[in-house]
Amino acid sequence: MIAMRRLFSLLTASLAMAAAFTAASSFAQTPPDTSSSSPGDTTSASPADTTAKIVRKVVSSDGTVTVYEEAFPGEGTEGFYWSFDKEGELARLLDKDRRDDKLSPIVDPFGFPLVIPDSIRTLRDSVRTVADSILAVTFDLGHGFDPLFKTAYIELKDDFQLNHGFETSYLLNPKASLNVNIDDQNQFNESTRKRRDDRTITSGFNFKFNEDMNSSLSLTRADNRQQRIATKPGERDSLETQMDNTSFTGRVQARRPANRVAGILVGDADGSFGLTASQRNYENRDSRGKSNQLAPNWSLRLARPHQDGKVSLDYTGDYGRARSSENRDVDSLGTTIGEVKTDTKDVNFNNGVNASWDQKFGAWGDSRLSGSLLRNRSQYFSREPTFAGQQETRSQTGNSMKATLNLTPRTGLSIRTNGDLGVSQTEYSLDHNKFSNILTGSADTEINYDSWQGGKFTVKLEQTYEDRDYLNTLAGQVKGRKGSVDFKQKVTNHVDFDAGYFIKLDQYLFDDFEVNKTDRDLLTERANFVVRYNPWALLSSSVRMEVRQTESVNIHPEKSPDNKTDETYLIQPSYTLMFGKTNITGDFTADATYSVFDFKEESNFLIRRFETRQKWQQALTPRLSTEAIFTYELSDEGSYVRSAGSDKRLFSRSREKHRHKESLEVRYTPLAWFRMNMLYRQDSDETFNVRERIERLATERDVYELSGGLGVQKKITRHVTLDVDYTRTQKRGDRISEVERSYYNVRASLEYQPFSKKQEKEGGS
């Protein structure tokens, strides 16, 4: 109840803030209407940048992710502005012929690879999830006869992998097709001496009755096996796990638009019914078993669109009856016994209902309200040592509700609010102690305001709550609160700044404070300020300042002596110089981290660090470029001791560390599909112990690395594609392990498509 009140208070605060913004924004000046088009290398600008049409120069693209030069400092990530074409990516993933194409690498102007930022990668993953969900319910008969053979060899240091694949579909007539997929993977790791073999074969028959009804039959066989290869003469290889699964599925899918019940429109209906018969055999170190199951499964989706909205209802379920048997060699205490056989009859089911209502409110808002119910049960042989080999039943229930409200009261102001509430319960028939009943609730709001020149203001608030009802000492509540404020402002054409503040509190409150002594709070705060200045086109610079604080509070007196607060202060100036074919970047970081113990001042600690990194990139010719990187780090650490006869605490250094790294890489790309590179790297560090201000060398480490590589990505003929990425590395140094003294990293794949789509088109024309 208290939790609900707190959730309510957060939502109230969020809504109050939203209301304040809405009211305040009505007084703000309306920005000029500067909607811009985005042809060629021009991208549409965010509302913050709408004062002019921004023309950006493309640096690199893989088709849907594009990297541009920054139009103004601080606009992008590490000097580049990234964009992602969601619609293009979805279209690519839904196109069977393009879905598995290898994407072009994204590189900087000197040909060196760039890492895609997390924000773009997350977006890309979400688009892939959407595409997968669309493909899962899409009935595709395929086109013609289009077999594809794939083979790949991957060697990464001491890990070796060989993959083979074959996939084809054959259109028997306009209403029927056959398809076969074979995937075979063999892997061996020299360090763990583990060999793993996986194979999956799927064959299917698809039949289309009409546009609204289709059916499929499929037979799948999957084998997985892991062995540990003998390491000594006389020792035998040992089987660790082996499993095979064979399943046969028949399925009918149908849809019927605009259904009516008693004259009332209930909407479009999509439904399916299937029957799966499966057999699973398995063997591990102490048991062997098998399970046969017959399981009907079904789904129904009703969707009724209305003006500016949609209501939908989804129901999916399955009900399986199985016979299982298992032979065990080890009893519940781990003692080897004679073989014991157990036979069981299992009933497994899954049922889920989800209802949702989407509504748009003109141009200023939209909402989504959804609720779901889940009921699942599965029976299996327990793996818990106490109940090993006995039939266990796991029953799960779950109810949840979600609400989302997005508002755009005026141009440049958007408010997004979400609320979730859910209860889930898991029960075990044998292992009662694993019972759990968890109530979860969360609410968050995000306000973005960017309707003035060159600025953006973002506020986020989030609260989460979990009430964990367990039958052990972990029962209790977990509370989380998060808040952040970010402000970005372009001051002049050459100067802009970012300022941000973030705070997060995690609290663990256990029901039995005396038995579970780990009641704790963890508070994290961060404030940062970045100012950027680019006086000329060839020079850009910035200074970043940051203060971080992490407060670890253990509540119980047995744990509280270790309570501490870590405070970090950081300053980092950096610059970028661009002279045509030369690019020089550098940064200088100084930081200090204080660990302050609440109850043990003698343990207080300080780490000071200075680091500089300088990078020089040079294009020697259009196809040849180099990159040199130099890094130097100096750090020392120590604690505070109270001097004898005085109350003052003085910093006493205990250790000093020097580290320097240098690397030089040359890249040569004589042809668009062929690339070569050589890399030399040196990494050295020395650690000194400091006692009574005298430094003594404690450890010294030098590592030298030379590697050469080449890359080929080419369609050799109309039907054969080759993709190779090869690197050989040699390392030298006192503490280099045998595994990494000299090794190869190889990724080579060959694809053969004898009747590719391209040939069909040419043949037909």
Partner: protein, 196 residues
Amino acid sequence: MSRRIISRPGGLAAAALLILIQAGCGLFDTREPVEGEGGQSFWQPPTSPEIIVRNLEVAFENGIFNDYQRALTADFTFHPDLADSLDVEGGRPGAFANWTRDVETETAAAIFATADSLSLVMDPPSQEIIGDDRLLKQNYILTLQTVGGATIYAGEVWFFVRPVAGEWYIYHWEDIATSSSRRSWGFLKGNTRPGV
């Protein structure tokens, strides 16, 4: 004119901040701890890969789960041995799914709670360099002592660690089942994860 344009959002920002502060009053206050005696300063500043693994080890043995959590990065992942994965998930589908830092910490706390005492012995690591990161490979023996007796888990752990502003943190953990007579720590984790 431009000054006016900027001054309004400035005022607005101040108003929003005021509301945020109002809304946040008391929300981010930590609780008052009960002062105790002793303590062993388990957490060492993780200035080397070995120290962060040692921090995790002693935090687990002593049940200091703020420290256990702090040893792991926010994008932490765990990968069990295939034999354990097939074995455990054969009965508990989803036992290893979406294994995040929070799941790892909660599972470690659950293991800690099931035992009267817990001992973790790890061999000195062998270290490999992977770009700026390090891979530490260590054999381990984990002993859980309960009223019913001692249960021993053994195997090999691979910790992938990376430097963040001069300090090292664990971002990936692989468990390798190497013993033919003992279950692995990964198996224990999959079987103990609460709420699945």
